[in-house]
């Protein structure tokens, strides 16, 4: 398990003031983050640019040192034995970095494998397996500069797995990829957590991606965790009202009048829909029970009745709105 306790990172930078003058500035990129990641789990870090996501990942992956706070990986403090920790973690970033373009896919994996000190026999078998896993069999001996974006990203995933890490940090892993390739990458990520029991920490600007993949989400703003939970609990704690959706097989003026009266009695607001037979009720409480009673008593031609969970995207937008206020 990875446990970060009160993690802080401060950067000392210089800001240009005029042509030659520069003033020192202190940027608190991360201001006391706590988080946990277990093997087989996918957690997400969400936030707008500058929220501290990438800095957090860099600290967890040993790339940069925290200003204060502690990180424990399987009980070992990260600064106690960084070489051991490096064997347990790896990182994958979006874009086309982190691989050598002049080398082939196989050569890249071989080089990184050597840097991790993996015995030659083990390394060869692992490279074969990873190349198959990411579907680069046919292009494994082609220099990376001739790869497409998607192929480079798949090679990145293979590189991130070369040391068979227990924990994988993914910083925007589908950045700039076409939808079908991004979908394929998401499937890999899920597979890694479920089948290979990797603990995965993911940052992404694509909220649907986080919603689809992550078991637990941390929302960061200006270096602080402002909210955490599952997609469902985040929405529940963010929105005070519930949406109940009623779909009828047919609609007529009499039914419409009944529905309007019901909404009035329940103090619910009906949102307009493109189809008149679908009605979305927004109210403080779920309306399923009272709607079931109404359907029975009025013999309404029911097609579907369900409570609509707010999308994570709506939750984030709402949180951002509140934070900016």
């Amino acid at each position: 398990m990875i446990e970060a306790i009160n993690l802080k990172k401060t950067y000392h930078t210089k800001v240009k003031k005029g042509l030659f003058k520069r003033e020192k500035d202190i940027v608190e990129a991360v201001k006391g983050i706590n988080l946990r990641l277990e093997q087989g789990q996918i957690i997400g870090l969400l936030g707008i640019n500058g929220a501290g996501k990438t800095t957090t990942i860099k600290m967890l992956s040993t790339l940069i040192k925290s200003t204060s706070g502690e990180i424990f990986i399987d009980g070992v403090e990260i600064n106690e034995n960084p070489l051991k920790i490096k064997q347990k973690v790896n990182m994958i970033a979006g874009g086309e970095r982190m691989i050598y373009w002049r080398l082939t896919g196989r050569e890249n994996l071989w080089y990184y494998g050597q840097l991790y000190g993996i015995p030659d026999k083990v390394l060869k078998a692992r490279i074969d397996r990873l190349i198959t896993l990411v579907g680069l069999n046919e292009k494994q001996d082609v220099p990376v500069e001739r790869y497409s974006k998607g192929m480079k990203q798949r090679l990145q995933i293979a590189r991130g797995l070369i040391n068979n890490p227990d924990y994988l940090f993914m910083d925007e892993p589908t950045l700039g990829l076409d939808a079908p390739i991004a979908k394929e990458i998401r499937a890999y990520i899920k597979k890694l957590a479920v089948e290979e029991q990797k603990g995965i920490l993911l940052t992404s600007h694509y909220i649907h991606e986080v919603e689809e993949l992550c078991d637990y989400i941390y929302i960061l703003d200006h270096g602080e965790v402002i909210l955490e939970g599952t997609a469902k609990t985040l929405s529940e704690s963010t929105f005070e009202t519930k949406i109940t959706v009623l779909e009828l097989a047919e609609i007529n003026p009499a039914i419409e009048a009944t529905i309007q009266k019901f909404a009035l009695d329940e103090k619910a607001v009906i949102h307009e829909q493109t189809h008149a037979h679908i009605m979305r009720f927004e109210s403080k409480n779920e309306l399923t029970e009272s709607l079931v009673k109404l359907i029975h008593s009025e013999k309404l031609p029911l097609s579907k009745l369900y409570v609509e969970a707010p999308k994570l995207e709506d939750t984030i937008i709402e949180i951002s709105r509140r934070v900016s206020i």
Partner: protein, 270 residues
């Protein structure tokens, strides 16, 4: 891990160099030596009509100016190529976006730099020895060479250049500049290390600075081995100085790089 890092980096650089810069780069470096020697040849024969100041012989112990210049130019080519490659290695990783993935791995930094240096050494020596072929046309004479002294001088030279290249590498990584830092150093080395004229002609202040760089001693040792065929024992003091200078630069450069690589990684995000 140490040996694996040396081997892997050596092979990686070898493949990269072959794919990225096949023969053109190799020939380009040979031509650099050719042009330097050609310039000296024209100056010596056309401008100075083959005449040297009497003090030249006093300072150098020879009247064979062309061999003097050729050895200096070949050593200069060696230092430039070595410094260029080893110093730029980490800043190149930074620019091509592989510094982070490299630093994620628990590899041996020293092994990485040695692998880098060894690969470059083979290429550079290949270029230098190829350059020697046309240098004979310009009057290079190897009749007095002491092979053993030459090899020992070359090994200590490469060690000293390795240390210096780590220092330059630290500067490059910190400033993220390669052009200004390397060209300033190269020009300075060319001026104060006795590449084409004896350092005794330099003002005292430049002489002191020149003595702090290992290039001057390395050129002196190589010239002594090739032109005067001296024994290893007679160069003992030079070797000790070269070794100490190289070690000093190595310690400063290596520890600076360890610190600066963290700063460089933070700068990416800071």
């Amino acid at each position: 891990m140490f040996i694996k890092s040396i081997k892997a980096t050596f092979i990686r650089d070898w493949i990269t160099q072959l794919r990225a810069y096949p023969m053109h780069f190799f020939i380009g470096n040979v031509l650099t030596v050719f042009y330097t020697v050609l310039g000296a040849f024209f100056m010596y024969h056309l401008l100075f009509q083959g005449h040297l100041k009497e003090s030249f012989e006093v300072y150098t112990g020879t009247t064979d100016y062309m061999t003097y210049v050729i050895i200096g130019s070949l050593a200069y080519a060696l230092v430039v190529r070595t410094l260029l490659n080893v110093s730029r290695s980490l800043v190149t990783e930074l620019r091509q976006g592989t510094l982070e993935s490299l630093m994620l791995a628990p590899f041996s930094r020293l092994g990485y730099f040695i692998g880098n240096m060894l690969q470059q050494m083979i290429t550079s020596l290949g270029e230098v020895f190829l350059s020697m072929i046309f240098c004979f046309i310009f009057g290079l004479s190897l009749s007095s060479i002491n092979g053993v002294t030459f090899v020992v001088s070359l090994v200590i030279t490469l060690y000293a250049y390795f240390g210096l290249s780590l220092c330059l590498g630290a500067v490059m990584l910190y400033t993220r500049d390669t052009y200004i830092s390397q060209n300033t150093l190269f020009l300075f080395i060319f001026l104060v290390s006795g590449v084409i004229f004896p350092v005794e002609y330099l003002p005292q202040s430049l002489n002191i600075i020149g003595a702090c760089l290992p290039v001057r001693d390395s050129i002196f040792a190589l010239r002594a081995a090739v032109m005067n065929g001296v024994s290893i024992e007679s160069l003992y003091t030079t070797y000790v100085r070269l070794f100490l200078l190289g070690t000093g630069y190595f310690i400063v450069g290596y520890s600076a790089i360890r610190k600066i690589e963290r700063i460089a990684l933070e700068k990416i995000f800071g």
